[in-house]
Symmetry: C2
Subunit: 169 residues, 2 copies
């Protein structure tokens, strides 16, 4: 990742950070900065065992619940991997499983009160952080930034597929 002189001058004087490299780097850093802040604040607010990505998982589960296979599809991982994630979240008390009354194969995964609490708090914290961005950038610039990102990213499918490009298998 990263480069010595991304922000400014490098001892060499040469262009240490070609402009094209800057964009992905900053996108990732921005994501990181934002997520870190939310993660830290969420830990302060009673959810110290949440992982940075769990908020997205909870949002994917949603208020109506889902199943391991659906969650896997949404997250872009195998159903087994989704199942493992659910196992962990279940042990932490964030979700619970119930057999689907209409389909004995399926197990509905739903948020517990604890899980809902974390989701609600995450959303509020995200809002706060976004407000801080609006303060720094100006509301117009932030809206423009969000609009531009929307334009440049596929609108509907949100298969992040983190593992695939990060190296995990």
């Amino acid at each position: 990742m990263a480069a010595s002189g991304a922000g400014g001058a490098d001892a060499d004087g040469a262009a240490a950070e070609p402009p094209g490299f800057e964009l992905p780097l900053r996108l990732l850093m921005a994501f990181r900065v934002l997520i870190d802040e939310v993660h830290a604040e969420l830990a302060r607010q009673g959810h110290p065992d949440m992982r940075p990505m769990h908020g997205f998982v909870f949002q994917a589960i949603g208020p109506h619940g889902t199943t391991a296979a659906d969650l896997g599809r949404l997250l872009g991982v195998s159903k087994q991997a989704a199942g493992k994630t659910i196992d962990g979240l279940e042990q932490l008390g964030y979700v619970e499983r119930h057999t689907d009354p209409n389909d004995a194969r399926r197990k509905l995964v739903g948020l517990t009160a604890h899980g809902v609490d974390s989701l609600v708090k995450s959303a509020a914290i995200f809002e706060d952080v976004r407000a801080k961005w609006a303060d720094r950038l100006g509301a117009d610039r932030l809206r423009a930034l969000e609009e531009d990102l929307r334009v440049m990213t596929p609108g509907d499918t949100i298969h992040l597929d983190m593992p695939a490009w990060f190296g995990g298998g």
Copy 2:
């Protein structure tokens, strides 16, 4: 990660994607879209065994080379992890190690011709993709976006620390 109705309407009618959630999601998706494109094109141009993040590693190594410990610091991982990464890259023929003549403890890690080739091509591809973004968004908007991202991210230290927040350890 992600949510069913990020882009648009959800069957429920409820706000499926609180505005605060949208920002990190889009940042990550944008990063992903960009990296995927570069990665795919790089594979086409003779580097099929490159991992999406390798480009950043190569840039961190830089034209003058580095050491495992320095690389680890720059990447925000342990020196052992950096060493393993270098092992892999060495086997793929992208880097090579030489003992530092001035310090027998250190092993200078430098890019091979193959590594330099991949770095040069990456940079060019990044430029191309950036140009595409400029076409879509307009040069001004893209510059504004980059400027805003720069404002909201720490300027000098680029410790991405991917593993820490992704869950790896």
